[in-house]
């Protein structure tokens, strides 16, 4: 770029919001739905896992469509959380509280995902119903998972709302108000699905 103006910050910020919704957000929904098959019993869950395992080029898909955007979103997100100011205790308007919560839940989700990957994906064991059942049988682990699911689904749902503004989709006041409520409905539904699956995993196969 010959111009003195640097647009890299703009591009990095917009890639951050895009990565959060398109690959990472879609994966979150897919992941929650796969987990929810546990409600139908161990066989249904193990079958769903096997179906995913049968996708061709799975490792490449996992790496380029989940790992890379997730890592970028997470690390750039920590930077965003750091350069943001926090005055929600002073100005406690609803949107400002959600602004602070978005960043707090982002950091919680960051820690949660690292621990979650370490105990499941990179634990050296195949993801089976029995393995997850073993993990969530520990009450501390179970509640940590609940906190992680609530934080992640809130961060995604509220992030959808600001995605609409960042990309100039929801311009008017009414559009922003309506999508604000819709995002909270999305949060309740997704968190409900996630917690229902966690409870299902506590039942012995």
């Amino acid at each position: 770029m010959a111009k003195a103006q640097s647009h890299s910050e703009y591009v990095l910020r917009r890639l951050h919001t895009l990565a959060g919704v398109i690959p990472v957000g879609l994966f979150l929904i897919e992941h929650l739905l796969t987990n929810a098959t546990a409600i139908q019993g161990p066989a249904a869950f193990n079958q769903a896992v096997a179906a995913i395992q049968s996708i061709p080029f799975l490792h490449y898909i996992e790496f380029f469509f989940i790992f890379v955007p997730l890592t970028y979103h997470a690390i750039f997100g920590l930077y965003v959380a750091f350069v943001s100011g926090y005055n929600a205790t002073h100005y406690s308007w609803r949107r400002n509280l959600l602004f602070a919560l978005q960043r707090i839940t982002g950091v919680i989700t960051f820690v949660f995902i690292i621990f979650h990957l370490w105990t499941t994906r990179f634990s050296g064991h195949a993801a089976t119903y029995e393995m997850v059942h073993e993990l969530v049988s520990n009450p501390a682990y179970f509640w940590f998972m609940v906190v992680g699911v609530v934080a992640a689904t809130f961060h995604f749902s509220n992030g959808l709302w600001s995605f609409g503004i960042h990309w100039g989709l929801t311009v008017g006041q009414r559009a922003q108000r309506v999508t604000g409520w819709v995002s909270m409905v999305v949060f309740v539904v997704l968190a409900g699905i996630g917690i229902a699956a966690l409870i299902a995993f506590t039942h012995a196969g």
């Binding site: 103006q5 943001s84 400002n96």
Partner: protein
């Protein structure tokens, strides 16, 4: 005076007073300190009137003679923005903030998002720099008469008028969490002003330059949608709508510019 019951009212109702706690600072680098003042109440007085009273009789609550509190003011009718300060935790203009509507003691602080010069005087030049950055004006100067410009549709003029009421007071900059020393965000008002001048038929001739500037350092991407700006704007300017509308323009501009290259 002529009413014979003055004796009774004089004993049961002493003169009403106004209690103020002002955060002061002697120079840009010295530490801030709080000083309390108690001044006589006058009907309908605003915060400026309180500060003028302190200037006339600069004696603190404890009876100590102090340097009078300094502040800035010009229009006294909420159109210049010079007297913006944080009164009872909210950024607003001292001229239109009435004592009757405030809880006492009245707590006054400078708008610390800007560098403090002295007491309540702040240096708001970063706002002027931001306006220059987004070219918040309509260039009409030339070496010859350019003639009348294109007309603006009435439907656009109506909402553009709302945006034109911005008087660069700095309330939105003070309340925005993303205007801080770790972030170079230009502030909500500048984005709204870029929208105003992009909407103007003659101003639109420099539309791309404003959008390029909004994508630059400290530009629109630094907004985190806390939406405090729209809550504190004394003119009720739809700043969050302006930001979203400019996000749309910048999105099209950014993708379009990239595809054209």
């Amino acid at each position: 005076m002529s009413v014979p019951t003055t004796e009774v009212s004089a004993t049961e109702a002493p003169t009403r007073q106004v209690h103020l706690i002002i955060e002061r600072q002697d120079d840009p680098n010295s530490p801030p300190y709080k000083e309390e003042f108690v001044i006589p109440y006058k009907t309908g007085m605003n915060v400026i009137a309180c500060l003028m009273e302190i200037q006339r009789n600069p004696v603190s609550k404890s009876g100590r003679k102090v340097a009078p509190v300094t502040w800035e003011m010009n229009c006294l009718e909420e159109i210049c923005g010079a007297c913006t300060m944080v009164i009872n935790d909210k950024p607003r203009q001292a001229c239109t903030t009435l004592v009757d509507k405030l809880e006492q003691p009245i707590r006054i602080k400078p708008a610390r998002t800007f560098p403090v010069v002295r007491d309540l005087v702040v240096d708001r030049s970063r706002m002027f720099e931001a306006l220059k950055k987004v070219k918040a004006w309509i260039p009409i100067d030339g070496t010859y008469d350019l003639g009348p410009g294109p007309r603006m549709p009435e439907v656009d003029r109506q909402w553009a008028y709302e945006l034109s009421r911005c008087f660069t007071c700095g309330a939105c900059v003070e309340a925005c969490p993303n205007v801080n020393d770790r972030n170079s965000f230009i502030g909500p008002f500048a984005i709204s002003q870029a929208r105003l001048f992009n909407a103007h038929p003659t101003g639109a001739m420099h539309r791309e330059e404003r959008l390029t500037a909004l994508m630059g350092e400290g530009g629109i991407q630094e907004c985190g949608n806390s939406q405090n700006c729209v809550q504190v704007c004394p003119k009720g300017i739809p700043l969050t709508t302006s930001i979203a509308a400019m996000n749309r323009q910048v999105t099209y501009h950014a993708i379009g510019a990239w595809l054209h290259r």
